[in-house]
Symmetry: D4
């Protein structure tokens, strides 16, 4: 398994990552995929003492990540860093088409993400880049097309920077052969519990998690 | 215009019709298409004294309408009756596929709706039947296909019973050439203000509303 | 229709314009005439991509508009600007006659409004000036008389500055032949849904809105 | 002073009488004219031990009083009874003209009030009948005209049954020479503190209250 | 009557004066004696246009008045000023005897009050000084004795500065022959509605208010 | 110590006994003297396994105890029973003198209490009767005089029925030589924490509690 | 995998099973092990269409299960039934030792559980019995000893009735070699997210869940 | 008794000391051992006029005390100072083992506490040092072992600085022969009312409190 003994693993992203972590108390990890990843890491690798941190903030685009990168990433000095961003960058172009000041187009997205990853790459053991996704099975759908473009950019940057790439969109696509989108996410964006488990599984597979490890 | 002087016009349906009418006070008509229809009727036909009543209830299927028909329709003795039902009948099949007890399949839908309309037809001046809709432009989408079948049933019953048919799905389809679904309804079901105006316009056109009437 | 493709249309005013826009979320346009105007523009002119912005603030007089003009109007760089102000300027003279510091008398009103309109006129495509109103049919009523004076000032400034003038008071007066004031506004100021539709209609007629436009 | 030692004085009516008595705790008399009457009776006639009871209920018409008369009046066995009813009977005809089921027209008003007063007259020391009112100075206003008719009916019944009549409308009319209606009641119905004092004064004058009594 | 046409009358003091004025909205005068005084002034002298202002703050001692005197009194430029302070100065000595930092002893009270009155005397038409009070009929009670000393100081300063003195303690003492303290104030400090009317009456008598004035 | 191993000790009374036990959760004993008695019993006699139950209800008089006696006392089958009642029986006569239906005069109090104690005496190991009290040092105060009469009745019934009598009034009187009433109870009725400790001490002394017992 | 296509799997138990399922909306499965089991089943076996139902109720003992068995189990007609009960049966003996009416001792526990399982065994495909547990590593701890006895009873009944037995206590014991109890459950009872994952894993292993299944 | 006439006794610590003092109003002392100590001091030594102050803050470690020492201790100038700290210093090491930034290890604890006590010793009459505790009877439990080490450090510092040492752990150990930990503290840390009485007793014994003192 890639994460090492006593390592700090930091997740940054938008509301998918946040998943209510700022509500209630004793809830630093939220109730979504970050919490699932942590639970499975603690239970299967209790001897490793891995520290998981959630820095997801609802509504964020890559532009917002840039603003809080120094404080929320660099200052925390993680060993591993996972980034899941881009959904709002695309979504705002489709749900509020006239509020152009909220749109983050592909150029800005690519440039900003590349800068963040490149500048951080040598301060950490490794970076995991997850593709943004849209739980829509029609690949000709306009917003799905755009999201796929953003996903391709993530894949490209992962390759350039020798980061791990996790294709969340593909993981959902496999399930969409069996489920209608509305049963995995009421608005095709925010996953249900099974949807968050899809992300957790894809993430853990990417870091060579052993699902059948004996204590 | 079809609605007569001093007539009572009753709308029944689900959350699209309800639109928060049960929340807050002095809000009997809700904040959606029923309120818009009423506002336009009062403003363009102030001399008519038309009474509009909203009996939408969130989450309802045609099975629920049947249960409350006696109290919420017959007991109110409206002159005109408008029905917009079927969205939840279809949606539950797709967002909670395993809770089969909540699904209302096409046969039950058709039989129940036909019975309600037939039994009521002669107690009122007229009935307006609106098609259920799904704000999804991909006509091959599974849920859209099913919704279209339910819409066809509504059209058939309208014809059989000499009711007015209003094709809400078609009205939304016209706009979907210009807008992405998410900008008309965050979950492709519950319309934004412009979405509700689409329904109101389609309804008013069906009853020969004069948009340029002078006082 | 006067508003052009991709144009930004900004409404500024008091609680009539605000209409709860600051309450709840995803409610930037409020629930009143601004929302109706936007809905009808989007639905009848979807190909135009018009952006509507609501900058109404409850309780505002023209003195308050002046204070926030730079930030809320100039900074937003709208193509079209609609102003509906003056109701509180008058009302405070009648409901709290002894709190003179809250009164904005006719001279100050005229001078302030003229300055704002004049200074802005050349930065925008056009300005729409709506008359303040009082939903009181007795034209001899003291507060109605004062309100009519303020309305005349608005008309005069519209003429001087080549702005569009919309006579909201007259639009309400037409309806007051059929309705008692209390049924259009519980306090003769804050309109019900039909009352807001009156304002929306008058506004849209002034910009040559086509009510029967085909898509 | 007419009220005797140890007597129970019961006020019944609508929201003007209720004045929030059902909200908060230790607030049985509300915050309006009933509380003022009680305060002045206790302070100027502390030796009398008069018990004041408030049975106002918001939104009530004379039709509602009839329904709760047995429990809220007869069962309480007051020595003196004060009735202020009719405002909602009239108001509903003007603010919700199409909800005719909520209107109480003059015939029903007169008949119901006369029955209640006549049946109760011999169980009590005395009855005070207060006129319903509308804080509108224009006597030609439609709702004011109707309210005046209802007031005349109250005066007639007072005479027939040998009850005390208190002309609240006239008391407000005297003040309307100095104040604009909005400063005495924001909706011309629900009085401000000074408005409630007007009612309290008129009531107390009618029962020969001594304003300058020495202890 | 002493207060002149168009004059501003400002009340300052502690929770007795405040009486919830900071809670709810449209409640600038609170629900206690200040509101009663205003109501009676407006109703009996509507032609005078008197402006009443409430600057009571819960828990205040004379030490607190001194801190906010510049802003809450001088800055408001009243014609008449009424002061009711001292209850908390005394009470804290008895209910929290060990928190000595909250006690304001007689020397500090006298010196501070004299300074405030003297410095303000020539900026206003007149000052009304009301005695602090304790609704306790046993004049040998320790806290009553102390309160009476503070009342004497107020009387002395009134005389020195040619201010009006209103003996609220004496007004309550008259009523205590008839009522047990608990029925005028649950904690012997905060008056019920009749208790506030006692203060209002005493104040109004002191300024020669005409209780029977005709309009 | 009188309470035996494994015994159930039930306290019944008014708000002094209840002390918020019905608010919050895991708070069955409230925050007053019952909780203190229980804490001291558990800590000094942990080997005894004594079960304490609180059945105080705010606002109760002896008339209310009678109504719930069967359910709240007999049905619980306690070994020991402690009763502290009478404060509201007296207080209502003084704070709401005109609401005579809420007063419980001495005859009814004595008769009801005697009946309850007599009927229960042989079902329990012992009964503790605590005197009602008023934290007022002036023994000539009207309400204090009345309270003392009720206390004498409790003492008499204790003697007749061979119950333990605890003189809470006397316990407070000892402290009133040092403290002003307001520092022990803001309204002279509801004790502060030290006031509740006075009751707990008096109760525990009456059952021969050993304050210095070694474990 | 043991659960068949289209099967209904019902979980019954106490707060561990409930895990807030009754709070919020769209939360029928709660946020604990039941939700995790469902997520993993849906994601790894999407083709199976398994319906999971949560009938956990906070605070329940086996005595409570018996009362609601007919409605919550038999009436639902599940194919598979999972039971996790006994924690409160034991806990109440230790945290509220004197409230004996809340204790369920071993005899009653065994007899009740055996009856429920035996009566239901032939109506379902299979029953999974999970051991109650206490996250305490000291096996000599009194409550841990008792809990182990209850666990043995569950194991015995599983064997007698040919049910699957899942040893949750053992699963936690394995982790307690690495973690201090407080990090798995703040009160040694209610698991954190990792603790719930332990239960989910143990359950899924018992039904031969394939952790690496390909879609 | 050690505390002198008119002395100020200040308690500082964590949530055990705070015990909700910051919630609700008129609750400066909280509802735990500080309130019990104060109640018993006031009741048994009313002639002494001792002022008790609570400066407990939930979640505090000795590191937090150091930060607020100047303001919360030195600035208050107490005569006696009681310190109960260390529970969170230890607990965080066990309930959130990976958040190492929240752990306060033994060296830092000892050095910080010694510095605070030493620097303060000569400004006060005396210091009482209470041992941190863990209501766990198994002395081999890892967290109990660590807590005992911290307790030894407190004892050592007490000796070095001639402070009073109160062994709270030992006081709880005596009770743990009779009670299971869960009945004294649901999480083995936060005491029930009897648990707080244990602390109060131990504290009072240490200052030679006379439990049977006569007034």
């Amino acid at each position: 398994m890639k994460i090492g003994r006593g390592h700090k693993l930091l997740f940054i992203g938008d509301s998918i990552t946040e998943c209510n972590r700022t509500k209630g108390k004793d809830n630093e990890l939220g109730a979504g995929y970050v919490s699932y990843v942590n639970a499975l890491l603690q239970v299967n690798y209790p001897e490793m003492g891995i520290r998981v941190i959630n820095k997801g903030v609802s509504g964020n685009t890559v532009r917002d990540l840039k603003e809080r990168w120094q404080e929320d990433v660099m200052h925390e000095r993680p060993h591993w860093l996972s980034i899941l961003i881009g959904i709002n960058d695309v979504w705002r172009q489709y749900d509020t088409p006239f509020m152009k000041e909220k749109h983050v187009y592909l150029d800005e997205y690519e440039e900003t993400l590349r800068t963040l990853v490149t500048e951080t790459r040598h301060s950490v053991e490794g970076i995991i880049l997850m593709s943004p996704f849209y739980i829509e099975s029609n690949k000709l759908d306009a917003m799905r097309c755009t999201m796929d473009q953003y996903g391709s950019v993530v894949k490209k940057i992962a390759k350039e920077t020798n980061s791990l790439f996790v294709d969340i969109q593909e993981a959902f696509d496999r399930l969409l052969k069996f489920f209608y989108p509305a049963s995995l996410a009421w608005d095709r964006i925010h996953p249900s519990a099974p949807g968050h488990m899809v992300i957790a599984q894809a993430f853990l597979d990417a870091i060579n998690f052993d699902w059948k490890k004996e204590l």
